[in-house]
Amino acid sequence: MDRVQIDRLMELMEYEFALTETALYLNTHPKDERALRIHNNNSAQYFRLKEAYEMDYGLLTNQGMSGYPWNYVEEPWPWDIDFIRI
């Protein structure tokens, strides 16, 4: 994994975390329109970035389409990735 790939994965992780936060909040505040707007905007961006990442580097889940050979097993498992201080 080069620096660019790690940066793109970390960008994806940031959006994912933002979604986790707004989703948890919305579970107990389903009528908060402002939180819902933030969630929906981040959601659109997250799926756009995820699709682009998987196209460029390989699958993050085993449900996507892969070129030959099956690339899900190629990319490192998350505990083997060297995240460096930003």
Partner: protein
Amino acid sequence: MWLYEKKLQYPVRVDTTNPTLAAMIIEQFGGADGELSAGLRYLSQRWTMPDKRVVATLNDIGTEELAHWEMIGTLVYRLTKDATIEQIKGTPFEAHYVNHGKSLYPHNAAGSPWTATYFNAKDDPIADLHEDMAAEEKARATYEWLINISDDPGVTDTLRFLRQREINHFQRFGESLMLMQDNNGCRKHY
């Protein structure tokens, strides 16, 4: 159902090889107030929780706890993966090593294996949510003690993130408790 994604919730960084610290952090992998207990507690309580918003809270926090369990395992793994026998000998990690090598295994820092008696599911929303709130505070306290003994800046950074999540979860469970009390028409303030 669950769907696995090949990423961590937070970029876990470990700066040193440190079997002693690994042996202490394993508390949160298989200890009473660790991430495995938290995840299975909330997920087990889902079926009988009467309010859909609270079921969603248990479901999603329970799922997040499993992601935290993976982060804790990653900390332990990376603190020990390059350790030589000489670096392991004489540390508290030695007792783990003679049984499990460098595998992850859920026991607490003192070596007691994980047990389901660490949590309960009572089919009673008030009892369950009070247990959940207490569990979050106990996990937060454990992270405080772990941060106090950590001598690896990368590990400390991840522990701080996890401590913050416990505070956030406590808040969400507190709101869930209020939703349940409103439902029962017997609003109480604690």
